[in-house]
């Protein structure tokens, strides 16, 4: 899980590895995800998200599709 300064850099990095680029997530969207995912991490009673909860968290910040499905069978 890495940062890239531009889409061109991201695509070039993937091409060098023969990999198809995955979803490109802008920093503001990553922050929204981080707030929901980790905002209660230091709370002793906060459980880790179940797969269903994780799917809902991703969808809640606009990350949808099989790539973001924790139990997806699709490669």
């Amino acid at each position: 899980m890495l940062f890239f300064r531009s889409e061109d850099d991201l695509r070039a990095w993937c091409a060098e590895r023969g990999a198809e680029p995955g979803p490109m997530v802008p920093v503001p969207q990553l922050w929204r995800l981080s707030r929901v995912w980790y905002g209660s991490r230091l709370d002793p009673e906060a459980p880790r998200p179940t797969p269903g909860e994780a799917r809902a968290i991703f969808a809640g910040v606009g990350l949808t599709g099989s790539f973001w499905d924790p139990v997806s069978r699709q490669e």
């Binding site: 850099d9 993937c14 991490r41």
Partner: protein, 146 residues
């Protein structure tokens, strides 16, 4: 609160206070416990993916969003430097701590440095992108690679 939860909380609170991973002995001391039950909880936390350990099964490699070893992704706040496991966790640490600071990382392709100020309400304007090569369903196949 279960003993396992107390151990997990002690691990995360140590990371939050110091930026460093605690040892089982340190957690035992903090909890006023013997070492043996802490080690048993350590194993359960590893099996439950709350922590990732090194080859010795003891040293904490990850307690997301914190990294127990130096990485290229850091967050600094209130005089403490935290290592993050990945780009996501570099923003995950200020989210978990609930306070601002400075994220440092780099572009994986160009090597250009990223210096990102994060306020309580979020990071400053930034056009950079986050990318995961691995789909969510496979993150834990090899979490260190992910």
């Amino acid at each position: 609160m279960t003993f396992e939860t107390r151990v997990r909380t002690a691990i995360l609170e140590t990371f939050a206070a110091t930026g460093d991973a605690p040892s089982p002995a340190a957690v035992a001391g903090r909890l006023g416990s013997f070492l043996e039950p802490v080690l048993a909880a350590w194993n359960r936390l590893r099996e439950g993916r709350a922590i990732v350990t090194g080859e010795d099964g003891i040293a904490i490699r990850m307690a997301n969003p914190f990294s127990g070893i130096p990485t290229e992704h850091t967050f600094e706040s209130a005089g403490v430097r935290y290592y993050a496991n990945c780009a996501w966790d570099a923003l995950g640490i200020p989210a978990a701590l609930g306070r601002g600071g400075t994220v440092r990382s780099r572009c994986a392709h160009s090597g250009e440095s990223l210096l990102l100020e994060v306020a309580d309400e979020g990071p400053e304007r930034c056009d950079w992108l986050f990318h995961s090569l691995v789909p969510a369903a496979h993150w834990w196949d090899d979490i260190v690679f992910t």
